[in-house]
């Protein structure tokens, strides 16, 4: 089975809950176990919060894209913002490093994305865009 979706939405933190719901809705036909769904939900939540808070610095006039697709063995999630970009991706990925400590960001976003997905790719162009790609392998929990 192959499937694809793309949603674009305003860069408001209030929309992060909506994207978690969208992601779960898109995957509903796969009959995934709750554990894997929770991991996907959390990883997406982190990537999208980063896009809004860091990529766009909370500029609500901007738009974030969430693209998801799957085949028989893996689910791919892409979160794209066209904001400030990441100067040093390795540094950004360091656990507990946050450029927004004063705003009580824990610096755990990339750690969680990394742990909760099987593959994590971050592409960024300074001043242009950041794209986070997460791949999750799965087995259907029930025979059809």
């Amino acid at each position: 089975m192959k499937n694809y979706m793309k949603v674009s939405f305003s860069a408001k933190v209030e929309n992060v809950v909506f994207t978690r719901t969208v992601a779960l809705g898109f995957l509903v036909n796969l009959d995934l176990e709750i554990g894997i769904l929770n991991e996907i939900k959390t990883a997406i939540s982190e990537a999208i919060t980063n896009a809004i808070v860091h990529g766009y610095q909370n500029d609500e006039t901007k738009t974030v894209d969430l693209i998801m697709y799957y085949d028989d063995t893996k689910i791919t999630m892409e979160v794209i913002d066209y904001g400030i970009g990441i100067e040093n991706i390795e540094k950004a990925k360091t656990p507990l490093f946050s450029s927004k400590v004063e705003e009580e960001r824990a610096g755990l976003g990339f750690t969680i994305m990394d742990v909760f997905s099987d593959e994590l790719i971050v592409e960024s162009e300074l001043g242009k865009m950041t794209k986070v790609v997460m791949v999750k392998n799965y087995h259907e929990s029930r025979e059809h």
Binding site: V16, T42, E46, I52, E104, A106, I112
Partner: protein, 116 residues
């Protein structure tokens, strides 16, 4: 779903019972409410009851770190109780174990702070 917050004062301990989802959006509001009460009543110790938290991302960890830095001046403690498996996994990734106590339920949390 949002976030429902119930707070109770017991001696110098603020008990926060959370129900719903902890993400950047809900945490922003929660942070203002809780930090104001901590300052107003000179709260030293916190119990955060996670029993009905259905979802938490790293914003929840940011919230706990923020409250810890608020009460550490008074040499206070934070006890996190009743975490479900998913919340526990995020918590374990955060290194917060080093600065917070963790208990199975609110009664044990109160015992830990000796207010039971």
């Amino acid at each position: 779903m949002g976030l429902n917050v119930q707070m109770a004062l017991k001696k110098n301990v603020l008990i926060i019972r959370l129900k719903g989802e902890l993400d950047q959006s809900s945490v922003t509001n929660l942070k203002y409410r809780v930090s104001e009460i901590i300052d107003k009543y000179h709260i030293k110790n916190l119990v955060i009851n996670m029993q009905e938290v259905a979802f938490m991302d790293s914003s929840g960890i940011g919230f706990i770190i923020g409250r810890y830095s608020q009460i550490k001046k008074r040499k206070g403690h934070i006890v996190i109780c009743s975490m479900n498996e998913m919340v526990q996994r995020i918590f374990n990734l955060s290194g917060l174990k080093k600065i917070c106590f963790v208990t199975k339920n609110e009664i044990e949390a109160e015992e830990r702070l000796e207010i039971a």
